[in-house]
Each structure stands twice: as structure tokens, then as C-alpha cells.
């Protein structure tokens, strides 16, 4: 097909007059059955490079993408153009997904978008190997995810790489990404192989105005944002370093009556979807998020991206700010940097990204002795799920462990004759990451063009400055903190209480509240003194703070009875505290809740699964009939994984309690499962 012929078809199918030169270069190669890696910035029109060929080929083009929201948008666009396209995702019902798969099998689709994790789905695998399933082309979207050298390695991409290597010669494959360093580019080429050609555009984003604001404390970040966020036009995203800080920043904005919401991987799918939709329709001034948000958001008019924490590398940073200003209009990109404090978190991500080697051995031993599922491994090793996930991904990549599928559930097997664990690659990777972090630190202190610095890092040879960053315009932002703002922030801190999310469908538990976060304020120290340093009862100011939290969350609500969580080791502290709470609120106090058997301290268990096992059926209520039809306020000192509260809530609900509401002094940061 000549370019002229193709553009005629483009006009009739897509309504565009012509391709950009680079687009045609790619499409021409794809139509000839070649393999192409396309590195182009956001907004280039990468998707047309496979959408157009897909409409010309016989059979279905399969697009692997990790971004559900993006798939949804693309499918909508295709359907609007009258092109048969659909996507399979965890957000559809099984019936809907099966229907889509069958449509593809029956030749009713031209484009099928699918998440890489779907390569583990039995129905999908059974259908796609059916010889009647005509596959025209495979597209690997966000191809940097296949490289562990990249900023966003996704283990399920491993299967995509394996697949692409098995696809026949002369079978068109397109891999696309907006962000790849030279090293990642070479890695992708080596992995996808078979004479792949890479085509790289320039990565300069002229409409992004880059700023770095140097501060001396977290307070200065919060105050500057409070003073200026409303002054920046449009809707944007504030990225923070941790899940907890998403909540704190969002509550701070809320306190200031700035419409915002927090988003992180701990939030349930339904709520996430609502937030994403809210962001799309400019319902918020900003969404405060960890890096969990963004990959899937195809919003062209994000007007600002703020980072309250420095990312671990310039490529992470380029990727995250790349979500702003896709429409080409000016957008503000702000990065806060506190030289006193801000290196700790990214360094801990780099250093802590990999569990210790002996933990790898624990997983290998567990899998050698028994064929286990994920939960089985967590229980057998007493390791956190996040760590087990990292370890398994590495062991699978090294061919030591096999991920077998047993009736739709995953089982991990040791592979006979597999090589010994290669730890050298881990060290190389860690060293490379530390070097990248050094480059990130350089970005903060340079006095030259910031965009040029980022583009150079990505392997782009930009010969001019952006002209719009703070350094180019020589306009560096300073923070001014007034007494008035300091007071406002102090007032916010004293009136902000973390929510305990324990509600579920099977019990009568309702969400409760904590007086503070453990480890963020002086509350943690006070608790520690009483519990472990013979400091006596919890101090009265903790009681007042906890009562304040109660009123804030529950208002004037009355409870029939106050129970407390029977302790494992710290004596009568909680009992005395609960008694004082009951007295202050004028509720009935009871110490009828006991342990029916000895349990171990929850602290020794690294994983929520074992914590849950430790407590299963461990509680008993004396005179259980007294609880029927009653509402319960359940007191504890520290809330960690929530396993204790949930177990008691389940037990009391079964006995007939109509409501169980937790009230605790401090909620820990983190928690697993």
C-alpha cells in the first residue's frame, strides 16, 4: 500500500487528511510485517500507528495495555468511528469479558485491548490458541514496563515478552512508549528481538513550565500550596510520597475548603473509579495521590502537577509530569524539595525495593517442599505480601519458580534443575538506581534549563532551552510563612482524625476513628512510654484527644456498651482507658470481652494473613445474651492491620450486636492486607 492509498483510507475511516512523517514510517513497516519500537512523547499520535493498520489487516489486533481507563477511552473513540473494538478488563463481569473474547474469535472485532495480566486467564488462553482465532498483529503499549531498568516494571509483562518472542517472523509487532532512556530502549530491543527497529522522536514538552521550590519543612510545602493552589488555573494532581500523606494533604485542602480528594492503591476499586471520573469532569481542584494514579488517566487538560516528594529518578519524574498538558496548553509543574529531609524516602524505596537475600531463600524452600498459592507462601514464610510479590517476580524471571495455573488459581512450583539465585543482577540494578537518584538530585540544584536536563537524561539531544522553566526565566519561587498560616496548620493538625475503615457486608462493624497517626505526632511516644517504659496509665491529654475524635466522628451518637480489646501483654492500660472513656461519655462500661485462648503478640506476624489466623475465634464474651440488639463502642490503643477489630466485630455481630464501632488512640502508618 502506498502512502497516498493509505491516506485515502485514513480519510474515509478516521477522518484525518494525512499522517505525520514519523507515523507513516512506522505504519509502512507494520504493514510489511516488521517489528517496531516507537518512542514518542505524549500527544504524538502513537495509537494511530496501530489503529490504522488494524483496520487494514484481516483478523484481530491485540493491544496489551496496563491502563484500563486508557483502553476504555480508546475503545470509545474507535466505536464512535464505527470501528469494531472492545476491551477486556477486571472492571467487566466475567460474562461480558467472555462475550468480548467470543466476538474476537468469531471475527467480529478489529481491535481488542487487554491487560497483560489477562495472559493468566484460562478462558482467554483457551480461546486465543484456537486456530479459528485470527490474530493480525500484537501491540505492546507502555513498553517500558517490560524492562526492569525502566521506571515502571510490571511483572506480568514478562509473559508478553515471552509471547512476542514466540510469534512467527513477518508477524507485525508494535511496541510503544513515551519514556525510555537509551538503556531501556536497548533492553526492550534485546528482549523483543527478531530484527526490531526503533524509532525515536524528540521528547521536549514546550508547554510544561518546570519549577523547583526549595523549602525547609513539610509545613512550608503545605502552606505554600494553601496560599497558591487556587491561584493556578484549572485542575491538577498533587503527588505525595506515601499513602498516609495523600490523606493528610487532601484533608488539609478540605480544611481550607479547597475541593480535593485522596487516591492511593489502598482505596477500593469502586471509589477509585469515582475519583477518576471526578477528575475527568473537573470536579476537584486537585487529586492528591501516590504514583498509583496517572497511568490510566487520559485527561488532556491537567493544568498542573505538584510533587511534594522527589521521585527516585528523572525518568519517573518525566513520566509523571508528562500527564499534564497533553492538549499542548501551558501547564505548571512544581517540585518541592526539602534538603533536610527528602532524600530518606526515595532512598528507602531504592534500598528497600528488594527484600534481603535470605528471604528469597525462605520462599525457595517453601516452594520446594510444597506446591503453594500466594497465601500459602505468605503463611509459610511469615513475609509481607508486598515482599513475597517482589521475590516471586524475581524468582520467576530467573526461571527458579514457575507460575502454574490450576483451575484459575495460581500455584507456584519449584523448577527442577533451575539455576541458583543470581543476586549480582540485583546489585547492578540497585547501583543503577542510585545513580539515577543522584541525577534526580542534580535536577534540583541545576541553574540551567530543567527540560533540557530531563530530555538529555532520556537520551534525547535537545539543542535548545525550553525558555519557560524557572531557571530559563530566572524566576525562582520562594516560600513565605506567616504566623497566621502557622496557626491555621496547627489548628488543622489538632482537629484531624484518621478514619478506621472496617465496614464490610458480612458484619455489623461501622467505620471508626483514631485520635492520631502513630509515628507522626507525639501520640506515639506517649503510648510507648506507658506500654513499654512503665509510664503508668495513658495520660489524660490522650483521653481528651480521643474524646475529641469521638465527637468529631460520631457526634452525639449514643452507644449501649463500651467494650475494650483484651490485651496480650500490656496489663490494664486499655481497660483503664476504656473505663475513663465510658465514664466521660456516660456509656455503660463492661469487661465481659475476654480471650478464649492465649494468642501471640500481633507484632511478630509480618503478614495480615497470619495475624488473622492468630486471632481466629480467640475471643469470648461472658453472658453473650446481653449483647443482643446492642450497639457497641470498641476501644483499643493501637490500630494496625485492623485484624483484631475485625475479628471481634465478626464475633459480636454473630452474637447479635447491631453495631460495633471502633475508637482507638493511634492508627499505624502502613499495614498489609
Amino acid at each position: 500500500m502506498t502512502r497516498q492509498q493509505a491516506e485515502q483510507k485514513l480519510k474515509s475511516t478516521f477522518g484525518f487528511n494525512e499522517f505525520h512523517d514519523n507515523q507513516w514510517t512506522v505504519i509502512d513497516k507494520i504493514l510489511q510485517g516488521q517489528r517496531v519500537l516507537l518512542i514518542e512523547k505524549t500527544g504524538f499520535g502513537k495509537s494511530l500507528c496501530y489503529q490504522f493498520p488494524a483496520t487494514q489487516f484481516e483478523g484481530v489486533t491485540i493491544i496489551f495495555s496496563p491502563l484500563i481507563a486508557l483502553m476504555r477511552d480508546q475503545v470509545q473513540k474507535m466505536q464512535d468511528l464505527g470501528i469494531a473494538a472492545n476491551f477486556i478488563s477486571s472492571q467487566h463481569t466475567e460474562e461480558e469479558n467472555n462475550q468480548t473474547i467470543n466476538d474476537a474469535l468469531n471475527g467480529k472485532l478489529k481491535l481488542l485491548y487487554i491487560h497483560p495480566a489477562r495472559m493468566e486467564n484460562v478462558k482467554w488462553l483457551e480461546t486465543v490458541r484456537d486456530k479459528n482465532f485470527k490474530i493480525a498483529m500484537v501491540v505492546v503499549d507502555e513498553a517500558h514496563c517490560i524492562s526492569t531498568w525502566g521506571h515502571d516494571f510490571i511483572p506480568s509483562y514478562r509473559k508478553i515478552v515471552n509471547l512476542v518472542n514466540l510469534l512467527p517472523l513477518n508477524f507485525p509487532v508494535l511496541a510503544t512508549t513515551a519514556t525510555a532512556t537509551k538503556r531501556v530502549e536497548e533492553d526492550i530491543k534485546a528482549q523483543i528481538g527478531k530484527n526490531i527497529i526503533s524509532i525515536r522522536g524528540n521528547l521536549l514538552r514546550e508547554n510544561l513550565k518546570l519549577y523547583v521550590i526549595t523549602v525547609q519543612s513539610e509545613d512550608e510545602k503545605m502552606i505554600w500550596l494553601a496560599q497558591n493552589l487556587e491561584k493556578i488555573q484549572g485542575t491538577g494532581v498533587v503527588y505525595t510520597g506515601t499513602r498516609v500523606s495523600t490523606e493528610i494533604y487532601a484533608k488539609w485542602f478540605e480544611y481550607l475548603k479547597i475541593k480535593s480528594v485522596h487516591y492511593n492503591s489502598g482505596i477500593d476499586t469502586e471509589t477509585k473509579k469515582d475519583i477518576e471520573q471526578g477528575l475527568m469532569s473537573n470536579e476537584y481542584k486537585c487529586v492528591v495521590s501516590t504514583n498509583a494514579l496517572g497511568m490510566g488517566i487520559d485527561k488532556s487538560d491537567i493544568r498542573f502537577v505538584v510533587h511534594t516528594q522527589i521521585p527516585v529518578s528523572p525518568i519517573h519524574y518525566y513520566q509523571e509530569i508528562g500527564r499534564a498538558g497533553r492538549d499542548g496548553k501551558p501547564s505548571h509543574i512544581i517540585l518541592f524539595y526539602n534538603p533536610n529531609d527528602d532524600k530518606t524516602l526515595p532512598l528507602s524505596f531504592i534500598e528497600g525495593g528488594r527484600p534481603e537475600i535470605k528471604k528469597y531463600q525462605r520462599v525457595i524452600d517453601a516452594v520446594k517442599s510444597e506446591r503453594l498459592g500466594l497465601h500459602g507462601i505468605i503463611k509459610a514464610t511469615n513475609l509481607k505480601q508486598t515482599q513475597v510479590n517482589v521475590i516471586l517476580a524475581d524468582l520467576i524471571a530467573q526461571g527458579i519458580v514457575i507460575e502454574a495455573i490450576d483451575r484459575n488459581s495460581k500455584k507456584y512450583e519449584f523448577k527442577f534443575g533451575s539455576p541458583a539465585l543470581d543476586t549480582k543482577s540485583f546489585e547492578e540494578l540497585r547501583d543503577a538506581k542510585l545513580k539515577e537518584f543522584d541525577e534526580m538530585l542534580n535536577y534540583l540544584t541545576i541553574s540551567t534549563c530543567r527540560m533540557k536536563f530531563l530530555c538529555d537524561f532520556l537520551g534525547d539531544n535537545l539543542h535548545k532551552d525550553c525558555g519557560v522553566c524557572d531557571n530559563c526565566r530566572q524566576k525562582n519561587i520562594q516560600v513565605s510563612v506567616t504566623e497566621d498560616w502557622r496557626n491555621k496548620l496547627a489548628d488543622f493538625r489538632e482537629t484531624y482524625f484518621p478514619i478506621l475503615e472496617v465496614e464490610n457486608k458480612t458484619t455489623n462493624l461501622v467505620n471508626g476513628v483514631a485520635a492520631s497517626y502513630y509515628g507522626i505526632s507525639n501520640v506515639g511516644q506517649a503510648l510507648h512510654r506507658s506500654k513499654y517504659e512503665n509510664g503508668g496509665d495513658f495520660p489524660d491529654w490522650l483521653l481528651r484527644l480521643t474524646l475529641k475524635a469521638f465527637y468529631r466522628h460520631f457526634g452525639k451518637e449514643k452507644f449501649d456498651v463500651v467494650l475494650y480489646v483484651p490485651p496480650t501483654e500490656s496489663g490494664d492500660l486499655v481497660k483503664n482507658f476504656a473505663e475513663k472513656i465510658a465514664k466521660s461519655l456516660n456509656f455503660t462500661f463492661s469487661n465481659a470481652l475476654k480471650k478464649s485462648r492465649t494468642t501471640q503478640s500481633q507484632k511478630i506476624f509480618q503478614t495480615g494473613l497470619l495475624k488473622k489466623d492468630n486471632l481466629k475465634d480467640a475471643f469470648i464474651l461472658e453472658n453473650p445474651n446481653q449483647i443482643i440488639g446492642k450497639t457497641v463502642l470498641l476501644i483499643d490503643d493501637i490500630y494496625d492491620s485492623g485484624a483484631t477489630i475485625k475479628e471481634i466485630g465478626k464475633y459480636l455481630s454473630k452474637l447479635g450486636a447491631v453495631k460495633v464501632a471502633p475508637l482507638v488512640i493511634a492508627k499505624t502508618v502502613g499495614g498489609d492486607l
Binding site: M119, L125, E126, V128, R129, D130, K131, F133, K134, I135, V138, K159, N162, L163, N165, L166, L167, P168, L169, N170, F171, K194, K368, S369, E370, R371, I402, E403, A404, I405, D406, R407, K411, E413, F414, K415, F416, G417
Partner: protein, 379 residues
Amino acid sequence: MKQHSEIPYWITLAHLSKWGTEKINRLVVKIVHDNQMSLETFFHSENEWKDKFALSDTDILDLQNAKSELPNNAFLAEDLLSQGFEVVPINSPEYSKTLKANLKLKAPTILYVKGNKQIMQANSIAIVGSRDADDISLQFTDNIAKKASQQFRVVVSGFAKGVDKQALDSAIQYKGQSIIVLPQGIMTFGSGIKKYYKEITAGDVLVLSTFHPKSVWSAGLAMARNPIIYALATEIYVAQSSESGGTWAGVIDGLKKGRTILVRKPNQNEKNANLILIEKGAKAVDFEGNAIENIEVVEAIEKPNINGTSKKNEIDEVIILLEKQTLTPKQILEKVKLNMSDKELAKKLKSLPNIQTVKKSNKIHYFVKQESPTLFAIK
């Protein structure tokens, strides 16, 4: 990883539905041996198919159709490999040499395996027998498996009930190594892999299948698997056979091909066809698997009724022939079409207990001992 890219081509070729194994293997020989080509190169040089590979138009059409399945088979191969299965093509040094030597061009084009592939290279025996074998046969199986394991010989079995299962379990019990030859596709064997997980990961068991990985069990596949079991072993022990069914057919076939088949000599009142097999040329062994010379079959046998099955068998045809006349092996081969040379036939005939020889004009002629009651039955 490099050679993995060949796997979808092997799968595609090996399961070419209209072609038999032999035809496929002949093409494989032309590609990888005669032309030193990879399958990938072959599949992508269609213009040479006609001349270089002398393929007919129909064959070319079949191959073109198969070629369109390559992307689908890439998905299948990814699934297979990621679940720890491996594909061993016939030209691989990892392919069982015993199997190839025994079956030649009829050897499976590819093997699907999981576990320790090295086991395929070890000296091996097969133990076969009925699904509903008697205790004595199971005990015999245990004895043989024990002896084999002590001698570092691999036990090949078919994962059926009875003797197969006993052979496997005993080999495991005596810390020996085993090959399980599946009557189904390897990806449908989840429960077995679960059950023998420890042995597989320890390198003591190799699971092997020659069928499409997703094929479910069928009687047909179970029958088709038997020759693979026999061919994977250098010696075949028969614990118990009836006069029909898989074991019987397998042994008869094995004898025809001149394989070493060792049949447990039954006790007086056992009701099975072991003695008939011995009579047909299998070697008798005792309860411990030791060879028994000069077995007296005549009195031990109850009149067997093998009229139905015997005629299908070529060796039986020879015996019937030799009841009426005295012939040299060469003369026999002119009358009965057999897949063996005259020397092999001579050897075979000598191994049968009821055949006698006479030298005429300097050539050895064979005939059947007429007084044998067995042969009256055959008449």
C-alpha cells in the same frame, strides 16, 4: 530463550492433522538434517517448498493452512513454557535415544515433558499389565520396580490403574526414577502434577506426553500411548495380560518388532494370558524377574481361545503357515508381509517355544511342532 522461538513451529508441524507421524518426520529430516535449516527458516521460505522439498500441491496447501496457526500456537507455547512444561523435538540431544532407536521414523515428532529430562537418557525398563491386576502381579511389579531402582534403571509406566500405578509408586518408594507416559495432553494432568509434585521437583519423575497439550484422556489415546511406553524402555516386563486390550496388543506388537519382552510366569491356576504370550515368544521370568529357561508351557495351559485375535497378528499368520509346511525365513517373507528382515525373523522364530527346525539343501527350514495342543486350538 533463543531456541524457544522454534517451539510454535514444532507444535504446528507435529500436529498437522492430515499427516501421519512418519510423513511429518520425513519432512523434518529433510529440513533439519538434509538442509540444515531451522523450522522457522523453512516456514518462511515457501518458494522453496516445491523444488527443494519436493512437496505436492496438496502438501503445500496443508502447510500453508498450518502456517496461519502459528500466532495461535505462539500463545499456546507461551502458556506451556510459563507453566514449566518443555517441548523436546526429535532432533534435540535431549530426546530419548531409546525411543528414537525403537520407533525410527514413527517416533513422536515432539515430546511434551515436565521434570528431569535427563531421565530419558538413562537405561530404562517398562512394567506393563492390566488395570485390574491380581495381587500377585502387583507384588511382581513391586519386585521389578525395586530391582530396577536399585540398579539405577528408570521405570517407565503409563499412569493407569493397577500395574502402571504400582510401578510408579514402587519406583518412588525405592527412591528410583520414573517416566510417566500420559494417555492425555500434558496440560490436562494438573491433579497428577500436584500429586507427584515433590518427586517432579526433586528430579525423580519425568511426566511425558506425545499428544496435543490440551487433549483430554480417551481410550484411543491410551492405546496410542502404549507403543511409546514400550519404545521408551530397553526391556519390557509384563506383570499380567488378558487376551485382549492394551497390554496384549502392546506385547504382540512388541514381539513383532523384536523387542525384549519378559513375562511373569503365572502359577498353575491363574486365569490370564501370560502363558500365551510366553508361547508367542516372550521370555518367561519368575516372580523376582529372573529368566526361566525351557519353560514347559504345554501342561500349564488351559485351552486358550485366541482364534479371534490371532489372525490379526502377523507372527500368528506365520505360525499358521508353518503348521502346514516347512519354510525358510526368506520363503516366509515372500508369503507374509512382515516388517523385519529374514535374519530377524529367524531369530524371532527361534525364540518361539513350539517352532522346530530342519536343515534342507543347506538351508534352515522352520515348522511347527504338530503335537502341541496349543496349535490344535489355533487350527
